[in-house]
């Protein structure tokens, strides 16, 4: 299985690369991870992963600055239906628009808006930073074998903005931080996590393994 890990100079890909390899090994899968931003890599991939650390507008700028990359992603994910995994800002970019440092258009694959976190409890600090538990919104093969709920495993979050999908059904899991924080989204062949699976140890590796074996 060929996995394209998109390196568009917007964040760390080393951990994501290593995590994919370990997850594949644990799932007994033979994968080849190709790192880069060449549209050819995207076109020939069976599955695609888009990491992203940074500000929404800056990441969109990096993505669009690579000739042919946005088009190749659209073709592979939206037309051919290849399974896609976005991490952190790589997930936020799926939204219709982001509101970090002004309004920026996203890919609009998953209708919604990226908004600043505003906890109901104003003593809570923003960014939402650290380890939090997850609550499933609905059952899904991607969550198989992952202990969720208040006594479940933890995921590592590091963000001040989060994706609020227009369709509630696109939310797969949430975290609680003075109100619901979108943790995992899924729509068709597209999945995205606000937290960093590559930094989330057991939970992250299991989720990645589930993605690699998932048939949308």
């Amino acid at each position: 299985m060929n996995i394209a890990l998109i390196d568009y100079e917007a964040g760390n890909i080393h951990s994501a690369h290593k995590a994919l390899e370990v997850a594949a090994r644990e799932a007994g899968l033979d994968i080849t991870v190709t790192i880069g931003s060449d549209p050819e890599i995207v076109a020939s991939a069976d599955r695609i992963m888009l990491p992203g650390d940074g500000a929404f507008a800056d990441c969109v700028g990096h993505l669009r600055s690579v000739p042919g990359l946005s088009e190749a992603l659209h073709e592979a994910v939206q037309v051919k239906g290849r399974p896609f995994f976005g991490i952190c800002v790589g997930m936020q970019l799926l939204a219709t628009e982001g509101r970090e440092h002004g309004v920026t258009q996203g890919l609009d694959w998953l209708p919604g808006t990226v908004k600043r976190i505003e906890p109901a409890d104003t003593t809570l600090k923003v960014p939402h930073m650290g380890w939090n538990t997850l609550f499933a919104h609905r059952e899904h093969p991607l969550l198989k074998g992952i202990a969720l709920g208040p006594d479940g495993l933890h995921a590592y979050f590091l963000h001040a903005y989060h994706l609020v999908p227009a369709n509630d059904d696109d939310v797969l899991a949430e975290a609680d931080y003075g109100g619901p924080i979108t943790a995992i989204v899924q729509r068709g062949n597209i999945v995205g996590t606000q937290f960093h699976p590559e930094k989330s140890q057991a939970l992250g590796l299991k989720l990645l393994a589930n993605f690699l074996t998932w048939t949308p």
Partner: protein, 270 residues
């Protein structure tokens, strides 16, 4: 529920750990990546590398350390020390740092905080504040920022500075009491609380940890979101797991799940 973080800090010079990690059964105790892997397995919530490399020629060594750590550990890493420019931050982020901490450069010119937050998102930008108490006994407490390891006063009020860098977009404050650093007398709780209560971003308490109760106090009385310690962990006084269990027993929300298990599974693979 979001958990309180316990963060071991490693001083790195020319790509090597300076103080050494003595309790761990490491093949090479001077290798930062080995120490990072051991802390990962012990359930540390994040790791902090403080680069104290002095020579300009050796500045790139930290990038190699960060890159190798990101490949070996699935734990969040903050890197600080000698970060002066946006280019320094980008290089560290691309190497695999999750957060980068700015100290002297932000004291000299606060605009770097806004520029860095614009580029990388505020969540990735930590401002490290080294402060000392400057008020006389009986006076209202005042804390001033010091640079150069606590030797050089700046005349800048620590609380006002913290409020300002938070406004400029910093995502976290790493607060070290230069009065307490190395004393094992506990955090400067009035300092920690003054800053934690003044800003809406998380504050990491640092400087002075000698007992596990000190870690608890940093949160309950200092209002910190995370606690950082170096020597109690390096010298084997306590393990990270002991620290977290102690804090949980004191009623704090801690992550005690399969951290060690997840890492053990990685161990076999790396």
């Amino acid at each position: 529920m979001l958990k309180i973080r316990v963060i071991p800090c490693l001083d790195v010079k020319d790509g090597r750990v300076v103080k050494g990690v003595q309790f761990l059964d490491l093949v090479d105790a001077g290798d930062p990546v080995e120490s990072a892997r051991a802390y990962d397995a012990a359930g540390a919530d994040e790791l902090c590398f403080l680069d104290i490399t002095a020579s300009v020629e050796a500045r790139g060594t930290i990038l190699d350390v960060v890159r190798r750590t990101a490949e070996a550990c699935f734990m969040p890493v903050t890197v600080g020390g000698g970060v002066r420019t946006i280019e320094d931050i980008r290089a560290l982020m691309l190497a695999g740092a999750d957060k980068v901490s700015i100290n002297t450069a932000a004291v000299k010119d606060r605009s770097i905080v806004a520029r860095a937050a614009d580029k990388f998102g505020g969540q990735a930008i930590v401002v490290a504040i080294d402060a000392k108490k400057v008020s006389a006994p009986g006076e209202a407490e005042r804390f001033e920022i010091f640079t150069h390891g606590g030797r050089t006063p700046t005349g800048i009020d620590a609380v006002a500075f913290a409020v300002d860098v938070a406004r400029l977009g910093a995502g976290e404050i790493l607060l070290t009491s230069m009065d307490r650093d190395g004393t094992k007398a506990g955090f400067d709780l009035p300092l920690t609380r003054a800053i934690a209560d003044a800003v809406s971003i998380p504050v990491v308490a640092s400087g002075g940890v000698g007992t596990l109760d000190h870690l608890v106090e940093g949160v309950t009385e200092g209002h910190a979101s995370a606690v950082l310690a170096a020597s109690i962990f390096h010298f084997g006084t306590f393990t990270v797991e002991q620290a977290k269990r102690h804090m949980a027993a004191a009623g704090l929300p801690m992550r005690l799940d399969a951290a060690a298990k997840g890492s053990a599974r990685q161990e076999g693979a790396v």
